[in-house]
């Protein structure tokens, strides 16, 4: 079994430097929290949070070692540094950074600000980054598990809140099933191609005109779709999403909706376009159906939600559907638009969730949309930020959301999937309704009661400001990010 003969050198460590830095900081926080008695002052100061923040920044700096355009692999070709993984690593770290910023005071407020919270966030980040850089099915699976297990715990970290416990339990049970599906899919793929290396699989599939185990491979393909589909919440594998998103701490919900989705799509794209492009005729139609179902179901159910976290959960399902449109298109434009979309989506979604965080206080989360009545009068700036995020999620220019949707649909039109594009744009028109509802409450209705907002969190405000900047900058001058997204998929050609 030559796949398990791993050569190891110090140069390899450089390839996973960000992961190592993050793991190191995670262990450091774990160690620190062992020496801090519960309820002590250092915890109150959010010391762990700041340490985690430093960790992410340090990891980001270590990423800069690899210039743009570098391509190298390590650990016997299991992990790869290329523009694609660099893009996702950077994106995931930005997401982690914004999540931690949003968490600093929120975690303290909700009494979950112990070291483990940040440790798990950092480990989840490591897992996501491994998913993005792994070019071996096992590494991708390991990354996925590192990420998932951390997130299972994070979802249930508010252990006094039954909803949070329910969320964790649900996510864990269903997630475990999905992992099993994925693993089985990996096993079948290995069985029919004889390798776990993505490049190797691709080679086998292109060089051999006829594969003896084609039925097995197709079954494996289907199982892989189920496994990834669960993580990125495609319909019909989305059932867990609303409950988990609602029950989990809001900061973790934001992390899940953006980070898990980004990492899931990174691995999804890598596996399907790098290893399995030869099977494109088999999966394109399945994806077409999944894309339509995901967009439509997500948007239609979101229409009737009264809780903003549930609404954003369904909206995130719909957004996965839009990204899948690009997946179906399958051309260069489609692949780079997936990257661009995830970037834009990260800013607008974390921004929206951070506003949700800012509008709650201990014991009173204020997550009903009707709680936002009159917000435009009492907190005009926060309301403007939320307005920008909602318009961006709805895909109205001049925001990042418009540019992202435009890119995705242009990929579909270029590939002659006119109907898919039409269904997609009609969906975004439907979606405008529920995003507008938030605005209706914020601006058009008088407040029913004074919204009780806890102390303002400067860190979370910073996260909102960064998100607003991201949404508007990408919306007005997307050029640089487009070029980045286009460069990042070139290895796939």
């Amino acid at each position: 079994m030559e796949i398990f003969q791993i050569q190891f050198s110090t140069a390899d460590l450089l390839v996973i430097a960000p992961e190592l830095v993050l793991s190191g900081f995670a262990l450091l926080i774990l160690l620190m929290s062992a020496f801090v008695r519960p309820g002590r002052s250092s915890e109150q100061k959010g010391f762990f949070g700041y340490t985690a923040l430093v960790g992410v920044v340090a990891a980001f700096i270590s990423l800069l070692y690899w210039g743009v355009g570098v391509e190298t692999s390590a650990f016997s070709g299991m992990v790869r540094i290329d523009p694609f993984s660099l893009f996702f690593k950077a994106l995931i770290m930005v997401i982690a950074l914004l999540t931690i910023l949003a968490s600093l005071d929120y975690a303290k407020r909700e009494g979950i600000g112990f070291g483990e919270y940040y440790v798990l966030v950092l480990f989840a980040t490591v897992g996501m980054m491994l998913m993005a850089s792994g070019v071996n099915l096992l590494i991708i699976f390991l990354g996925l598990e590192v990420m998932s297990i951390s997130i299972y715990v994070l979802a249930g970290i508010m252990r006094d809140d039954p909803r949070s416990v329910e969320a964790a339990f649900k996510y864990f049970l269903l997630g475990a099933f999905a992992s099993a599906f994925l693993l089985y899919g990996i096993a079948l793929t290995y069985a029919s191609t004889g390798t776990l290396d993505l490049g190797g699989i691709g080679l086998v599939l292109t060089e051999q005109a006829w594969i003896s185990g084609l039925p097995i491979l197709i079954t494996g393909l289907a199982l892989l779709i189920v496994g990834f589909g669960f993580k990125i919440a495609l319909v019909p594998f989305h059932m867990w999403t609303p409950d988990v998103y609602e029950g989990a701490p809001t900061s973790i919900t934001a992390f899940m909706a953006t980070g898990v989705k980004a990492a899931g799509f990174a691995a999804f794209v890598r596996v399907f376009f790098y290893a399995l492009p030869a099977l494109q005729p088999y999966w394109t139609e399945i994806m077409w159906v999944l894309a339509v179902a995901t967009m439509t179901v997500g948007n239609l159910i979101a229409l009737s939600q009264t809780n903003i976290k549930r609404m954003l959960a369904y909206s995130s399902i719909a957004h996965a559907g839009y990204i899948l449109v690009a997946f179906v298109a399958g051309n260069d434009l489609g692949r780079s638009s997936i990257l661009f979309y995830l970037l834009a989506y990260a800013f607008m979604n974390i921004g929206a969730f951070t506003v949700v965080i800012l509008l709650g206080k201990k014991g009173e989360e204020n997550t009903l949309i009707s709680d936002y009545a009159g917000l435009g009068f009492h907190h005009p700036l926060l309301a403007v930020a939320m307005t920008i995020f909602m318009f961006s999620l709805a895909g109205v220019p001049p925001t990042a959301g418009f540019m992202a949707k435009f890119y995705v649909f242009s990929a579909a039109v270029k590939a002659n999937y006119y109907w898919l594009a039409v269904i997609g744009v009609l969906n975004s028109a439907v979606a405008a309704y529920y995003y507008l509802r938030v605005l209706i409450y914020m601006y058009f209705r008088e407040p029913e009661r004074e919204l009780a907002i806890g102390g303002f969190s400067p860190a979370a405000v910073l996260a909102v400001i960064i998100s607003v900047w991201g949404v508007l900058y990408i919306g007005l001058l997307p050029s640089a990010f487009l070029a980045l997204a286009q460069r990042s998929i070139q290895f796939l050609l």
């Binding site: 318009f391 418009f402 039409v422 028109a429 405008a432 605005l439 209706i440 209705r445």
Partner: protein, 529 residues
């Protein structure tokens, strides 16, 4: 770069936005100062839009003052802005009406003045942006941007059913425009595959040679988006709601400019991009326009609410605009463009007038009035002039527009012309009957006895409109000469491209026009940078 020496189109487009940003920094408690600042911004904006008119070379048919800056080179999207004779007049209408709208909001807007003024100025940038954009994506962005402030203006400062009206307005327009987005993308790729040049540049896309079937689909996508905005029957149902619930100035801008963006969209985008489909669509569009004219007028007649009456009269007037445009001859199209301006001026004024009595009586029901001319003589005079202009009495602007439209339509298709002419009669019926019930007769409600006549601010608001009504009515050449060549070029261009594909099947309709008029009018496109 252009006769003015600086990027004037960009300046005109973005000055209101800059003004809105300045307003952000004025404390909200200083309402008086906020209003004066907003008025000053809109006046300066009007002033800097005047050089566009003055320096516009009427001897050129193409785009003038063109500015071109790469925006998203990865997609072939450029910031391309310019004006021709058609958009020029609409831009001036926009800057003109915005000043009056801000003046009219002095009393009517009591809460959140700061946000109101900011929304209005952003809206102005959006509208002018739509009129100057010569890149499809730039156009689409501005097109959608106009939705946001208008949605807020209706929803925040509107009447009791404002939320319903605002959401309906937004969703209708959005649903129409997303399909247009797909058509834009399809056009982009088809043109790109055919020529190797991937661009959203409108003037280049005009030359795209498209299969006829594709043209039909794309024209349909564009036409639905614009027809909703115009609004053409049967897409008009959002309009009465939006108009009735919007604050006065919102209605003025909605009727005056936003609806024109729909008709402008036809003349700038839908028709010249897909001329074959446009010619084929003449019967459909004309019949829908005729239904709009007659149906709008009949429904108008039966309204008990003044504002609803004016709203439905818009459906009727805009039907004329569409009818004239799709006559596809010089008279029809010129009348159509002129009618866009007329409708902006007269219907805008009607909404202002309705707003003025609403401010005094807090009702808009016709039955609540009667005999107002005795207590408000100045008001009665203004109202009369505006009402007559809306009826298209000779000597007012409305006459010139509707006369040309009907002339053009008769040439193209006498049946359409006859049916269209009934709209003029019906307009006289609903307008004069309404005027009689509101202004003449005995004063039946004692609340009406103490009504104050117009104050100075209100006179200042209405006077420019009355001047325009008469100026445009007796001296239309002043305006026609600016748009003449652009209109002729538009017609020459679409006809040439239509006939290149279809061997002149409409020849029998075109004959009365004569050839020298069409042919001699053409000047080659000569974009002046």
């Amino acid at each position: 770069m252009n006769p003015v020496g600086f990027p004037i189109v960009t300046a005109v487009t973005f000055f209101p936005l800059a003004g809105a940003i300045v307003l952000l920094f004025i404390p909200r408690v200083q309402e008086g100062f906020l209003k004066r600042a907003a008025l000053a911004i809109s006046l300066v904006e009007f002033a800097i839009s005047l050089p566009l008119f003055i320096f516009f070379d009427e001897g050129l048919a193409g785009m003038q003052f063109v500015e071109r800056i790469p925006w998203i080179p990865e997609w072939g999207v450029n910031y391309v802005a310019g004006v021709d004779g058609i958009s020029l007049l609409l831009i001036l209408l926009t800057t003109f009406l915005t000043v009056l709208c801000i003046l009219s909001s002095w009393r009517a807007v009591e809460r959140m003045v700061k946000e109101y003024m900011i929304a209005f100025l952003i809206l102005e940038t959006g509208m002018i942006g739509v009129l100057v954009a010569l890149d499809l994506i730039l156009f689409y962005v501005f097109w959608e941007v106009t939705l946001i402030p208008m949605y807020l203006i209706i929803g925040v400062w509107g009447g009791p059913r404002r939320i319903y009206a605002a959401v309906k307005f937004f969703l209708y327009t959005m649903a129409g425009s997303v399909l247009m987005l797909v058509a834009i993308l399809a056009l982009y790729f088809l043109h790109g595959k055919a020529t190797g040049e991937y661009t959203f540049d409108l003037l280049k896309l005009y030359q795209a040679a498209l299969p006829i079937k594709t043209q039909y689909l794309m024209f349909a996508a564009f036409a639905v988006a614009f027809a909703i905005k115009v609004p053409m029957f049967p897409f008009h149902t959002w309009l009465p709601d939006a108009h009735v619930e919007a604050p006065t100035a919102g209605s003025v801008i909605l009727a005056g400019i936003l609806l024109k963006l729909g008709t402008y969209g036809f003349i700038r985008f839908a028709v010249p991009l897909f001329p074959v489909a446009a010619f084929k669509a003449i019967p459909i569009i004309s019949v829908l326009a005729l239904i709009g004219i007659i149906y709008g007028a009949l429904v108008s007649m039966m309204q008990a609410d003044l504002k609803k009456l004016v709203a439905f009269s818009s459906v009727s007037h805009l039907g004329f605009v569409m009818l004239g445009m799709f006559a596809f001859n010089v008279q029809g199209v010129q009348g159509s463009v002129y009618q866009m301006l007329n409708h902006g001026v007269s219907t805008g004024a009607l909404f202002l007038i309705v707003g003025m009595i609403y401010e005094r009586r807090h009702t808009r029901m016709i039955a609540d009035f009667g005999g107002l001319s005795k207590v408000m003589p100045v008001f009665a005079t203004f109202f009369m002039i505006v009402a007559l202009s809306s009826i298209a009495l000779p000597g007012t602007n409305g006459f010139v527009g509707e006369f040309l439209i009907l002339l053009g339509t008769f040439k193209a298709n006498p049946v359409y012309g006859v049916l269209g002419a009934t709209g003029v009669i019906l307009a006289a019926v609903y307008m004069l009957w309404m005027f009689q019930r509101v202004m003449f007769g005995a004063i039946t409600h004692k609340e009406n006895r103490q009504l104050k006549d117009l104050n100075l601010r209100e006179i200042v608001t209405l006077l420019p409109i009355v001047v325009m009504i008469i100026w445009m009515g007796v001296f239309p050449k002043f305006f026609f000469k600016k748009m003449e060549l652009s209109v002729q070029h538009f017609l020459y261009d679409i006809k040439a491209r239509y006939e290149a594909v279809m061997p002149a099947p409409t020849a029998e309709q075109e004959q009365p026009l004569g050839t020298e008029e069409e042919g001699a009018g053409h000047t080659p496109v000569n974009a002046k940078e």
